[in-house]
Symmetry: C2
Subunit: 286 residues, 2 copies
């Protein structure tokens, strides 16, 4: 009944003797509680968020539905506590996915010195500090026979600002080859239907931004945005927030760290949209 | 002809044998070039900014006018190069002033390790990391006889999030005592005329915010917002940006660090405005 998810792009992957998430065929996602504080903090967040009546419905839809916790046989074969969540991709056949960790800073001010040092190093080595976000995972569906374009984790980790812009363009392109080394210029043929439009990703990010300009309840450190869509007549693009092991109380202050990174990502996506338009209208050279 | 400015709230103060800014009676401010890279970088910024045709006029008004550089006798009595700027307070008799250093991070990614370590320590010890900004100076005019309310530098430096909120309230209050230890609750009697209204500080900050959501030319590290107003029939509140010794090229990326801090400050000021309104309308207890 439980199986390893087909569509994971980042995080721990379940395997022989390895702890990782499981899914069932009723659309639920079982995430093993992480060690120590992280696991309990993630459960605390879901409990607080799901019972918080001040969260507007139009914001709640950006978060996975929480169904509680359960001790069950994990992917390792051993009993382990799990968080039960909505499986965000269960209704999709071949989704293209991108996982973007938001914030120039992935550590809370209250974290331990050791943890801060470790995070700060990663934040400075990746694009977190420079762009306010970094890519954690990417998988673009090319076609039934060609499968997926999926750059190696190491390639993602070493990506600089220009690479990140290119990956954001590849996510909405059709001319990719499954070899991640491919150097063809992404055609951005899906940009209007995925990033653009009233229900597109940009529009959803702007809804989130408006909430982050005002909400002072939670600070989301090391939290990711998950972008999803499918090729076809209706790409049905969706944005979700995931990974809440480092959420802290906002204490009356907005999450300026998340908001800054979100605004930076919004600007990248707006630029890709307007460049593609200018290209189409002959305003810039290909 | 040159004298030490009356209305300085932060930064190096000129004195016997001490290098600091000077003003003249024609409304110009002479800022001694800082040592090494800082001084030259600040000049570079002013030269680049004043000749940049892409800066909208409504944004240019937030910056001091730049009149070039000059080697002249400094406050120490020794010849020293100075940046010549508009004296922002020359037309005001008894201005209330607040200097707010914007950004959770006051260091550029390209800075030296030694400098980053020093800044990071200050950012974590102050409210920079938690609020996305910190207060660097405050001076509130009380009356011709009582003079100014001006907390000690050390008090400002140690201010936590709640203290910062209180200082932002005191800035627009009339019931202060010149003793900075005074514990009376600030009355926020000037909040509507200084923070509120079409020409108020909040409205000016929102104009700046819109520019920061889009501009990718400059990243302003360790830069301050200066708030100014005068008691009287027209308080004429003004916001200016000052201190550009650590401005870097934006390279196509928005200044998410400045923008995040600016949004956090905007939320604090909006909260003070709406709390005062609620108090007036009896919606909350005094």
């Amino acid at each position: 009944m439980f199986k390893i998810p087909d569509h994971q792009v980042a995080g721990h992957v379940a395997g022989a003797g390895k702890l990782g998430p499981l899914v069932d065929d009723s659309g639920r996602f079982y995430k093993p509680l992480q060690d120590g504080q992280r696991g309990t903090e993630e459960v605390s967040f879901y409990e607080s968020f799901s019972s918080n009546t001040q969260i507007p419905e139009k914001i709640r839809k950006f978060f996975p539905i929480f169904y509680g916790t359960k001790i069950m046989k994990a992917s390792t074969g051993i009993e382990h506590p799990h968080i039960i969540l909505q499986d965000l991709v269960s209704s999709r056949l071949s989704p293209s996915l991108m996982d973007i960790k938001i914030g120039a800073r992935t550590w809370a001010p209250e974290a331990s010195e050791e943890y801060i040092t470790k995070c700060l190093k990663k934040d400075r080595e990746s694009t977190s500090v420079s762009l306010g976000y970094r890519l954690s995972g990417l998988r673009v569906f090319i076609g039934d026979e060609l499968g997926f374009y999926k750059p190696e984790r190491d390639v993602m980790r070493k990506a600089g600002p220009d690479d990140v812009r290119l990956f954001l363009m590849k996510f909405v392109s059709s001319n990719l080859e499954s070899e991640s080394g491919s150097e063809s210029k992404p055609d951005c043929s899906l940009v209007a239907s995925v990033y653009g439009g009233d229900n597109g990703i940009l529009s959803q990010l702007l809804e989130l931004k408006a909430w982050f300009e005002d909400q002072t309840v939670y600070h989301f450190y090391a939290c990711s945005l998950l972008f999803m869509f499918e090729k076809g007549l209706t790409s049905n693009p969706e944005v979700k927030l995931i990974d809440f092991a480092h959420v802290e109380e906002g204490k009356g202050v907005i999450d300026h760290n998340f908001l800054g990174g979100l605004c930076s990502l919004i600007k990248f996506i707006s630029d890709i949209l307007s460049d593609t338009n200018d290209l189409k209208n002959g305003l810039i050279e290909p």
